[in-house]
């Protein structure tokens, strides 16, 4: 069947977007080639409209020759929207079901993969503090977006979010008063700096980097929704290798481990809150002996 004009234009656009992602990878090392295509297209077209250029190919030229453009494009492609105690029921479940196990270790490690601007890392730190566990914890908070990571390290957030954060904190079963954990200054709040004494903020890219630690719990929420299935599998396998036996994997409410290859080595701890536990005895597939 002959293609109509809108199909031809769309095919052209898709070629241009693929070439832009190829340039981004080859020039700067950021690999978005296995991200979900609809999301990428939306964000690229958003950048195109904002830049006043005509074609995505023009963006490619800018990306290669204008160093300032990289920052803009990365900001478009990576979603850093987050909040403190986002999905309060998740934090409640972690407190009730995971912390009692973490308590049995003299020392434990938590990895927040794709921490963006850090709100969810501090939420976890506050809960650990309330349970008297923060001193025993080593928290790794990683992201590939260095601008977001700097905000995470600073722990300074707009004051207009505090009402929402406080409500979330209470619904998450917070025991103390949320205002104990921040100081308001003008239009910002600074989180209690002692919360980050055991947090290491580091540049790590789930797409291109590998295992860097063995941890008791991984929190990676609303990151994998942007990846295609192949990339999701790669990251799941990275997580499996990074978890100790009996370690916990926490995903976002719409992310699911069930259809993944590594699911055979996990059990469901909390189906609704997407908390999975790595089994103590894990199996590896033997090629000739299934």
């Amino acid at each position: 069947m002959k293609k109509d004009n809108s199909e031809i234009l769309n095919d052209n656009l898709n070629i241009e977007i693929e070439l832009l992602l190829e340039a981004l990878y080859r020039k700067h090392g950021y690999d978005f080639r296995n991200y979900g295509k609809a999301h990428i297209k939306r964000r690229v077209l958003h950048r195109l409209a904002a830049s006043g250029l005509n074609y995505v190919s023009d963006l490619q030229h800018k990306l290669i020759y204008d160093d300032n453009f990289l920052k803009l494009l990365l900001d478009d492609l990576s979603i850093t929207v987050t909040e403190m105690f986002r999905d309060p029921d998740f934090y409640k479940a972690v407190r009730q079901e995971v912390f009692p196990i973490l308590k049995t270790y003299p020392f434990f490690k938590i990895w927040h993969a794709g921490c963006a601007t850090g709100q969810e890392v501090y939420s976890m730190a506050i809960m650990l503090q309330e349970e008297g566990l923060l001193d025993r914890a080593q928290i790794y908070a990683t992201d590939f977006n260095n601008i977001a990571l700097k905000k995470a390290r600073d722990g300074i957030y707009p004051v207009d979010k505090i009402k929402e954060y406080t409500q979330n904190f209470q619904r998450a079963g917070g025991k103390s008063s949320f205002s104990d954990y921040y100081t308001a200054r003008y239009d910002s709040v600074i989180l209690d700096q002692s919360l980050k004494k055991n947090i290491v903020f580091a540049d790590h890219n789930l797409v291109t980097d590998s295992v860097f630690a063995e941890v008791n719990m991984i929190v990676c929420r609303n990151v994998l929704i942007y990846f295609n299935k192949n990339l999701q599998e790669r990251v799941f396998s990275l997580f499996e290798q990074s978890l100790i036996p009996g370690g916990y994997l926490c995903l976002g409410s719409k992310e699911n481990l069930r259809f993944s290859n590594i699911f055979r080595n996990f059990e469901v701890e909390n189906d609704k809150e997407k908390i999975y536990k790595k089994q103590y005895h894990t199996r590896t597939i033997k090629k000739n002996n299934v």
């Binding site: 979900g36 609809a38 999301h39 939306r42 979603i79 929207v81 992310e255």
Partner: protein
């Protein structure tokens, strides 16, 4: 031959869906993807309730789910729903668009790239202007556009916002929308 239907609604949407989704015939030959503006904390009451009322299957969409005909997929609360060109569903938690997440514009825009001139877009009752730009996009890519008759809509702002920036192919009442979709369905079956 049309391949999919996208529908957006806000204030008054649940009543509108209850009125016309149950009229769609069994084995309906197209999939429907729907956004209803809804509070982030909502449970799945709406989809389970509609599923009981309807002959087609109604469910909350799942991440990376392959789109099947005869099924109505509602966006979950607090996520944008995007349609991939391989005809599967994905989500995003990017900022609200038109003060809404899920946003109708996000669904319509991505669906228009996935289905182009094989898409039907419908705007129903609502108190804001989400969906207007998306409906325009559907039209630009050759899709068919319908707006609920503002006279009938519980809140007419959303239909009027769409009509203001584009000329929809049809302005219909809910009953007529159901009849129109059933006609498309029969026509699809005849061709197939």
């Amino acid at each position: 031959m049309f391949e999919a239907v996208v529908i957006g609604a806000s204030a008054g949407g649940l009543n509108a869906f209850k009125t016309f989704l149950p009229k769609l015939e069994k084995n309906f030959s197209l999939p429907l993807m729907l956004v209803q503006h809804i509070s982030p904390q909502s449970d799945n009451y709406m989809t389970t309730h509609l599923d009981k009322l309807c002959k087609i299957k109604v469910k909350e969409a799942e991440e990376k789910e392959t789109i099947k005909k005869g099924t109505a997929y509602f966006s979950p609360p607090n996520f944008h729903m995007l349609i991939e060109e391989d005809k599967s569903i994905s989500f995003s938690v990017e900022n609200k668009v038109n003060y809404a997440r899920p946003s109708i514009d996000v669904l319509f825009e991505t669906a228009s790239y996935a289905y182009k001139n094989k898409l039907i877009g419908i705007i129903l009752t609502g108190a804001n202007n989400d969906g207007a730009a998306g409906l325009k996009k559907i039209q630009e890519l050759g899709g068919f556009t319908i707006v609920q008759d503002p006279e009938e809509a519980e809140v007419d702002t959303m239909p009027l916002s769409a009509i203001k920036i584009m000329k929809p192919d049809k302005i219909l009442k809910l009953k007529e929308i159901a009849d129109f979709l059933n006609k498309i369905h029969k026509n699809n079956k005849r061709i197939a």
